[in-house]
Subunit: 196 residues, 2 copies
């Protein structure tokens, strides 16, 4: 009998190849022009293999982003006990990430889509932005307990204050994204959020 | 001799019809599917009439937005001497504007385009966002002179702190846009910006 490949391992390899292909292609051609056929061809699988696991193009692309965002380190934010230092670490990393073309292009494509597609926007919030925001809020809560942030601060608004300026500047290419910008943003947001 | 229409008035009427058509169509079909042919047909003019005044679809749509944003009142912000009251007036109006479908749809279409088109983004900043931002900064400068905002505050960052959270919440449909939200945002931003 010839040696058979382990079906579970083969399955996992196909799955990974599909996610990699989706991520590469969305950077190369944009989300709008991306097709299931092109993903299948790039991944070296049949279209039916993709439809066995995902119901739509949007679903594949989301999982590709999920895999990317969970790559390497965990979702938890650093907690050294110093909220200012920790937020500056995180915001400087975020600025660097947005300046990285490999990361930048697919996130830009994704944003173009979720702006005009409310269903995709809801899916994005539930699967991608939501869990990340929860991790960020957990860090802010620990800062509240340490008395570094006002106990009655609205943490959704606090996150917007920290991240939306950076997001808008990147999205509209309206100003430089530098480590100094990240620091200035953290300083201002913490001034707004600190206890009276 | 038959009565001839005034050519200048006819010209202005055509120009206005084209801008109205562009604004209506971008709401109905989105920017990507909008064509010069469709604008011409809706406005009741020939394609060449459009190309006489504008070099591209993007140029027509921009002028349509410019006309919209300059409709009625001037670009200057209210200045009662109380920056908190004035910003709450402006931010509540902005929230209402974003909640208005007639305004919302074309701005969403425009944002989808400027995200993926750096040249359009630059044009948008120069012609539309830039002058509006200057008017907002003039109001913040007057608050600096009144000692209500720190003299050394970075006004670009101050504007982002005020508007980006609202913009992101609207763009991602990630939370309610209410007058209370506008007020909370102004309170936080002013706390960040006030003199030490």
């Amino acid at each position: 009998m010839s040696k058979q490949p382990d079906p579970a391992r083969r399955s996992e390899r196909s799955r990974q190849a599909i996610l990699d292909a989706a991520r590469e292609l969305v950077s190369e051609v944009g989300y709008a022009k991306l097709s299931i056929e092109a993903i299948a061809a790039r991944a070296g699988v049949g279209k039916q293999t993709i439809y066995r696991w995902w119901r739509s193009k949007g679903a594949v692309v989301f999982d590709a982003f999920l895999a990317l965002s969970q790559d390497g380190d965990s979702i938890a934010l650093p907690d050294t006990g110093d909220i200012e230092a920790d937020l500056k670490t995180v915001m400087r990393a975020t600025v660097a990430e947005f300046a990285d073309p490999q990361f930048e292009a697919p996130i830009r494509a994704l944003n173009t889509e979720i702006i005009s597609d409310p269903e995709l926007a809801a899916h994005y919030r539930e699967k991608l932005a939501g869990p990340v925001d929860e991790a960020k809020k957990a860090r802010l809560r620990s800062a509240q307990q340490a008395g570094q942030i006002a106990a009655d601060a609205d943490l959704d608004l606090a996150l917007e204050l920290l991240y939306a300026p950076l997001f808008q500047r990147w999205l509209h290419r309206s100003g430089p994204l530098t480590p100094e910008y990240a620091d200035a943003l953290v300083d201002l947001a913490l001034k707004a959020l600190r206890p009276d």
